[in-house]
């Protein structure tokens, strides 16, 4: 086994000396330098200021490593030796390059080695999220925190986890959000709600105002009548004539001059101050306002609500409302049931909202109609001492007195009444945001929406368009949306192509009681929408609650597959939608086992936060991009789209689930002790929460004093006890005691961890989450470190579902699975590798490792095994029958199956592709890195790329042969490529194939049989994939070694160092004794002294 010896020898040598290996270039390579370099780079002729005749061969300083790096780069880039001087033979050059790049990797590692030092680290993004979950029972999206890892390190490596001020602020904000949501979920406050009927304010005012106006007018009429009677006296005719001459055409002038008319009564007798007053109140205002007020009162809508008006302060230009004075400061929702009238311009359909006597705070479009008013929701925050009164008014109705007057006057002149009523308010409701939450449940019969939508589209667009087109063709007259013959033709085509599919849908009896999910046209998806979202614009569902609060919700639907639906079409994809019609983020894919005659009820749980999506889309699992193609193909055959495969009876949502309903949830932060003052209780609560947040460490008094200061400031600003506590509680979540896993060690040497530190190291390793009560209890008793107890805890933690966080977190990074998301898969070429399949393929890797870990199986099952861990969807994909259902389970493989082990997994193979074609280089390098623990050096910069064969019709293998021509390429590719060729029987998405087809635009298309045979570099040969796999599987120790090093790095939070050699050997030895049981690796590492040492 030459392969094996190559790797193990240097490693054993290092062990024997117990010191980091030297990065030393063997003396014999001086010959190469002497032959090809020294002529120009010597003591006399130091070209490029570089001497190579006496260069040191031991790369133990940054400077020396840099110098050699430069040499490597120059040779790699082909610049050295220069073209006009003597060139080394290709193999000699490749060997030299291989040696030098390998030595440099060792040198960088040696120089950069941290000597076993574990740098204190902060929680990474995954751990932070899980820690909030365990501590507070809230599940927040934390995507705004920076992604961790990078520079090739695991996301647990402290030295690579940074902190910045931006990040600190995000911790503060997220901590605050978490605390708020915790209180919503766990410490509900009393629900407060008040509703004001709009007419209750407006109607009495305007009724009284109008009565006053009538009274004023009547008195005016009586007075002027009396003045007129005096004027009619014959003896007064000269003065009346004189008055008429003074102001011609002004009928009111005589009343202003009443004193000059003998016998005319004073306006004071009629209740006016003087003539000016009388004219103003009794006539001008009457003319100006009375028609408006009459119209207002006569409108039937003012019996149940009120219109917002202009200028007339006694009508309703300004709808005020108040938050009751005894309600606590805090966040409230104002809900306004409001409508815009049909005959007013759209520009007037906006309502302004703001604090009484203050500026407009927000303006809202009003889309509700008088037939169907909307409920507008406006959040407000009430602060102590702040305004509690608010107003609503029509946009622009009160920009200034002058402007309002002007608008009113213009309208009055136009219609004799005043501005038409544009906005109507039914009621205004105020509720506190964090009030006691009601559990809601709402079922929707999907056919109502579906039929309105499908039938409407058919009648209006498809059939209606066709009729209009026929009318156009018959008459030549443009019809609605059909201006010309081209449009007519198009609409006829639409009808002919889609009409039958629509009719089939509408005529199917099952659409009377439910809805089909179709492909491409007709009815592609259903939706479960939590308020305020609506399933479509076609019909509005009356929700049981205007909006839902954050929390956990259950989605249910009754679903069945049609009798003829093939197995691969019996999957439902559930996704979320934030915006737009096409937006779809896959949540999960479920197999449909029910039928249309015997439907099943499917249930899934979703977590809803303040800003997460509330629309959940239900589709048949498929590659949507291929819809049109499939639709057209089916249409060619049957005249209709593919027959629908899935049918939904109804959909339902329920929630939020109450905290009590959850098993073993976290303790609520606020537990009020009896007979204590607020201050005492606040301090106790903060101290208690800090200890939990700090994973068992107590906060110190000065810190608590500061927190109490923040609490008191809150109280002084008017917050109640609970709200004042939220700020200092969230400060705890931004403190270093929470954010960092600190293990003090002032001394020079190392020390043993105390049990609390050990508890954290252990739980973050296996759960990516903080220690639970049991771990903390053992730590406080100081018994956790006792090997028997610790061993039992390791088993317990692994058995706990929370260890899934280790499986996914570790595996994703260890196997480099981020590559699966590097590119879009070309689903035109790989039709069934849709997002659901990709997600299931990714899950297969996790589920397999999960299975191996928990069932006590051996690590070498990852190299080769006679079983797979799959679900029904993947069984279909792999062509394995007899498996159905969404649960992943162990399935025995037929004898000749290429599956079983990582190399046969679709996800691993797809990672070794570019989404379209296979990449033997990626696959080969991955085998060397992950399975054989022989990582090739990183891709060097400035190596000339070879494109010579790119445009030729060659097989992948032939095309990559160029890699062997240049020594710079060959140094690595001679090891990499043959292994990748061995996997060529798998296409880019991991399907088995026996031929390969290459197609190049303008060049042609050709098919070759796959030739997987090859050999390890300087090692054994294999004739096909199966032999390749067997030879890799024959070396579980190499695979185990790579796994161990990754495990050490992940678990200790620092790069695997040279001092870790004995540790790795010990772990491997112990695991080997247990046939490489995966759990044995973990146990050996955790029980090692290194793991328990700082």
């Amino acid at each position: 086994m030459p392969l094996r010896r190559l790797i193990l020898l240097p490693f054993l040598a290092a062990l024997a000396f117990g010191a980091p290996p030297e990065a030393r270039i063997d003396e014999k390579h001086r010959a190469f330098l002497k032959e090809y370099c020294v002529e120009c780079h010597n003591a006399d002729k130091q070209k490029g200021k570089l001497r190579l005749d006496d260069i040191a061969l031991k790369l133990d300083t940054v400077q020396l490593a840099d110098r050699w790096q430069k040499i490597l780069n120059q040779v790699n880039s082909g610049e050295m030796p220069p073209d006009d001087s003597k060139q080394p033979a290709p193999v000699a050059k490749a060997d030299f390059l291989e040696m030098l790049s390998g030595t440099l990797v060792t040198a960088r590692k040696t120089i950069g080695d941290a000597h076993g030092r574990i740098t204190m680290r902060r929680l990474n993004r995954r751990e932070y999220k899980n820690t909030l979950r365990d501590l507070l029972g809230v599940d927040l999206p934390v995507n705004e925190l920076p992604a961790d890892g990078g520079a090739g390190a695991f996301d647990t490596v402290g030295a690579s986890l940074f902190m910045s001020s931006d990040q600190f602020e995000r911790y503060l904000a997220l901590g605050r959000q978490a605390i708020d949501e915790h209180f919503i979920r766990f410490a509900p406050t009393k629900a407060l709600t008040i509703r004001t009927e709009a007419e209750a304010y407006a109607n009495p005012r305007i009724t009284k105002s109008y009565a006053d106006r009538v009274d004023c007018h009547e008195r005016y009429v009586a007075w002027t009548k009396a003045v007129d009677e005096a004027a009619a006296r014959p003896e007064n005719s000269p003065i009346v004539a004189a008055l008429a001459a003074e102001k011609k055409g002004d009928a009111t002038y005589r009343y202003y001059q009443w004193q000059r008319i003998p016998g005319a009564p004073s306006p004071e007798k009629f209740g006016y101050l003087d003539a000016i007053h009388a004219d103003e109140q009794g006539r001008r205002n009457w003319v100006h306002y009375a028609p408006h007020q009459r119209a207002y009162l006569a409108n039937p809508a003012t019996k149940t609500g009120s219109f917002l008006t202009y200028e007339d302060v006694f009508a309703n230009p300004y709808q005020p409302f108040n938050v009751p004075g005894d309600w606590p400061a805090g966040r409230y929702h104002v809900r306004v049931r409001i409508a815009a009238t049909a005959d007013t311009p759209k520009s007037r359909h906006f309502v302004e909202f703001g604090p009484m006597h203050g500026a407009v705070a927000s303006t809202h479009a009003v889309t509700g109609t008088m037939e169907r008013p909307q409920v507008l929701e406006i959040p407000v925050t009430i602060t102590t001492g702040g305004s509690r009164g608010f107003f609503l008014r029509e946009r622009g109705s009160f920009d200034s007195n002058e402007r309002a007057h002007q608008i009113f006057g213009e309208a009055l002149r136009r219609n004799g009444v005043g501005p038409e009523f544009a906005l109507w308010i039914d009621w205004i409701e105020i509720t506190n945001v964090d009030g006691q939450r009601a559990n809601h449940k709402q079922r929707r019969e999907v056919e109502l929406h579906a039929n309105a939508m499908v039938g409407g589209t058919y009648k209006g667009y498809v059939k209606g368009g066709h009729e209009a087109a026929q009318a156009f063709l018959a008459t030549g007259k443009p019809q609605k949306d059909i201006p010309d013959a081209q449009a007519a033709k198009f609409r006829i085509k639409v009808f002919e192509e889609n009409g039958p599919s629509f009719r089939r849908y509408l005529e199917d009896p099952l659409t009377k009681t439910g809805a089909y999910l179709t492909i491409h046209n007709v009815h592609k998806e259903e939706a479960i929408t939590l308020p305020p979202d609506q399933p479509s614009g076609w019909l509005k569902t009356k929700h049981v609650t205007p909006t839902v609060l954050p929390g956990e919700y259950v989605l249910r639907l009754r679903i069945g597959a049609t009798p003829d639906a093939p197995k691969e079409r019996r999957y439902l994809a559930v996704g979320t939608r934030l915006s737009g019609e096409e937006d779809f983020t896959l949540l999960e894919t479920r197999e449909v086992t029910g039928t249309t005659t015997d439907p099943q009820v499917m249930e899934l749980r979703v977590n809803v936060t303040a800003d997460s999506p509330r629309t959940f889309i239900l589709r048949e699992k498929r590659e949507v991009k291929l819809d049109l193609e499939r639709y057209q193909a089916a249409r060619k055959e049957t005249g209709m789209g593919p027959p629908p495969a899935l049918w939904i009876d109804w959909v339902e949502w329920e929630g939020p689930l109450t905290a009590e309903g959850k098993a073993a949830g976290p303790t609520p932060v606020l537990t009020r002790g009896a007979g204590r003052t607020d201050e005492d209780q606040a301090r106790a609560c903060l101290a208690d929460f800090a200890r939990r947040a700090f994973r068992g460490r107590s906060a110190e008094q000065p810190f608590l004093d500061r927190l109490m200061g923040i609490y008191r400031a809150g109280r002084q600003s008017g917050l109640d006890h609970e709200r004042a506590l939220r700020e200092p509680l969230s400060v705890i979540l931004a403190s270093p005691g929470f954010l960092y896993l600190s293990e003090p060690n002032p001394g020079k040497g190392s020390r043993r961890l105390d049990d609390l530190e050990l508890a954290s190291r252990l739980s973050y390793f296996l759960w990516s989450a903080p220690p639970d009560a049991e771990l903390l209890r053992l730590a406080e008793k100081n018994t956790l470190h006792e090997p028997v107890i610790l061993g039992a805890q390791v088993d317990r933690l692994i058995a706990d579902p929370k260890s899934a966080a280790f499986v996914t977190g570790f595996t994703h990074q260890w196997l480099g699975m981020n590559r699966l998301d590097f590119f879009q898969f070309d689903t035109k070429l790989h039709k069934d590798f849709d997002d659901s399949t990709k997600a299931a393929a990714r899950d297969e890797v996790y589920q397999t490792i999960d299975h191996i870990l928990r069932q006590g199986d051996s690590l070498h099952h990852l190299l080769k095994s006679d079983y797979v861990v799959i679900n029904g969807l993947l069984a279909d994909y792999y062509g394995l029958s007899e498996v159905s259902g969404d649960a992943f389970r162990k399935v025995k493989l037929p004898k000749d199956s290429p599956r079983g082990g990582l190399l046969g997994m679709a996800a691993i193979l797809a990672m070794g592709s570019n989404g379209r074609d296979t990449s033997p280089v990626e696959r080969g390098a991955w085998i060397l890195r992950k399975l054989l623990h022989e990582p090739p050096p990183p891709a060097p910069p400035n190596v000339p790329q070879l494109n010579r064969l790119e445009d030729k019709l060659l097989s992948t293998r032939e095309r990559l042969s160029a890699h062997q021509e240049q020594p710079q390429c060959a140094q690595c590719h001679r090891k990499i490529d043959p292994l990748g060729f061995g996997l060529e029987n798998f296409n880019a998405t991991g399907k088995w194939r026996t031929t390969e087809t290459y197609e190049k635009r303008g060049v042609g298309r050709k098919t070759w049989p796959i030739s997987p045979a090859g050999a390890f570099y300087k090692g054994s040969s294999f004739k096909d994939y199966f032999e390749l796999r067997d030879q890799i599987a024959a070396h579980p120790e190499k695979f185990g070694r790579g796994f161990t090093e990754s495990l050490v790095e992940y678990g200790l939070g620092r790069p695997f160092g040279f001092l870790d050699e004995p540790l790795a050997t010990a772990i491997l030895t112990e695991a080997q004794a247990k046939d490489y049981q995966m759990a044995a690796f973990l146990r050996a590492l955790i029980l090692s002294e290194t793991f328990q040492t700082k």
Binding site: V62, R108, G112, D113, T119, S164, S579, R706, P736, F822
Partner: protein, 428 residues
């Protein structure tokens, strides 16, 4: 003075940081474009794209230098601005050896391996050097714009901007968030904001109290690590001090309404460019970096090739994708130049006249890290524009360029990164 104040000052002093608060007099004006001082301030903008360019069609011929060089196809959309930018060839970061890291060291020139005992090291980036000087008088010292999934766009780990300690500085990935940060009105009354500032300060005081506990007994390396936390708090302290100075002055008015959410690719870059102009125009900041997306740019151009595959182009589909990318980037850049030129300062000169725009990548093309593509525009640093300069050799330190631009913009520094001088060719 309250106890809070005392201890905070004490902390700042104890932490050994000298906080240079901007002098009040210099803060008294310059808040708005309308209140500009007589001489226009210098600005610097660094635009980094990850995966380099198409070698064959982006660079002018090395033989064709000077003012009358022929503009290559990849730069064609910039033709109308040809007199206003200079292409420099022959610059590189000599320590760079990661073939997919297009911006990690672009502005720092640092040696990843410089620190024994560490596998990663970086230094301060040119923009942060600039921000320390040019950012003193503006509301924001520097603004960093970023893209989602940066490594997918060839950028490498961390950031493009690195602080004085070589730690990555996060940026805004989302144009909407960046917009609101820059321009959204403070709806809160002044008194309330003052109270909030006070509250933020007491929050900082509290966490520092706990930090003091955690720090006790830490090893040296861990103390260094925790120092990042202290530094973060200190940075916020500085910002709060600055906020206080700016408390009674509203944010600048945005010249356009908030961008639509969900923009990606070319639309995203365009709106980020608009934000850059707006930020400069309103004098909200004078230093900006933008780590541009490549992956989503390709998607927005309906290019099917994945970004990394595109970067390894060869004649055919992938090379076409690469060239499409170059063209669109040039088009967008031309748009930015046009906007900067159209935006007038109080004295009638344009914003472009006082801004330096550096546009480039640490990757030339494919896996090549030499001759980093470099385009310099704008009148901020006194560079002679309208030329194609081919420097001797392939590896004049890129940091010589940064040093030249920094000094030209009035930032007095002796050196930057691995610089060994300035580029006389640029100013001569």
């Amino acid at each position: 003075m309250s106890r809070t104040d005392l201890s905070r000052r004490h902390f700042l002093r104890a932490a050994g940081t000298l906080i240079a608060l901007p002098a009040l007099s210099s803060l008294g004006f310059k808040a708005f474009a309308a209140e500009k001082p007589v001489s226009q301030p210098k600005r610097m903008v660094f635009l980094g794209f990850g995966y380099g360019v198409t070698n064959e069609t982006w660079f002018p011929s090395l033989k064709d230098t000077g003012a009358d060089y022929a503009l290559p196809a990849g730069l064609a959309p910039l033709a109308e601005h040809k007199k206003d930018f200079t292409i420099v060839q022959g610059l590189a970061n000599k320590f760079s050896d990661e073939a997919h890291w297009g911006s990690t060291f672009w502005l720092t020139g640092a040696n990843r391996y410089a620190q024994p005992g560490q596998s990663f090291h970086n230094g301060i980036s040119a923009d942060q050097v600039a921000a320390a000087k040019l950012g003193m008088d503006t509301r924001y010292g520097s603004i960093r714009l970023d893209c989602a999934n940066a490594s997918d766009s060839g950028h490498g780990p961390g950031s493009m901007a690195w602080d004085a300690r070589g730690k990555p500085l996060a940026g805004h990935e989302n144009p909407v968030a960046a917009y609101h940060r820059l321009f959204s009105d403070e709806t809160m009354p002044l008194a309330r904001r003052q109270a909030l500032l006070a509250q933020q300060r007491s929050v900082l005081d509290a966490v520092l109290e706990d930090a003091a506990r955690v720090r006790r007994g830490l090893s040296r390396a861990d103390t260094d690590k925790l120092e990042e936390y202290f530094q973060s708090v200190r940075d916020i302290e500085l910002r709060l001090s600055k906020d206080e100075q700016w408390l009674d002055r509203p944010k600048a008015k945005a010249p356009f309404p908030p961008p639509k959410p969900g923009l990606a690719g070319k639309d995203e870059i365009k709106v980020m460019y608009d934000l850059i102009v707006a930020a400069l125009q309103t004098d909200s900041t004078r230093v900006l970096t933008y780590r541009q997306p490549v992956s989503s740019l390709l998607a927005s151009l309906s290019v099917k090739v994945a970004s990394h595959d595109m970067s390894h182009y060869a004649p055919g589909e992938r090379m076409e994708a690469s060239q499409k990318r170059d063209l669109e980037q040039s088009r967008l850049l031309a748009g930015l130049f046009a906007k900067l030129k159209a935006t007038k300062e109080a004295d009638g000169s344009s914003l472009f006249d006082h801004t330096t725009i550096a546009y480039g990548s640490n990757i030339r093309t494919i896996h090549y890290l030499d001759n980093c593509p470099t385009l310099i525009a704008g009148g901020g640093a006194g560079i002679r524009l309208g030329r194609h300069i081919a420097l001797q050799g392939k590896s004049t330190p890129l940091c010589n360029l940064w040093l030249t631009l920094l000094r030209g913009s009035g930032v007095k520094v002796d050196s930057h990164g691995d610089s060994n001088g300035t580029l006389k060719e640029l100013t001569a």
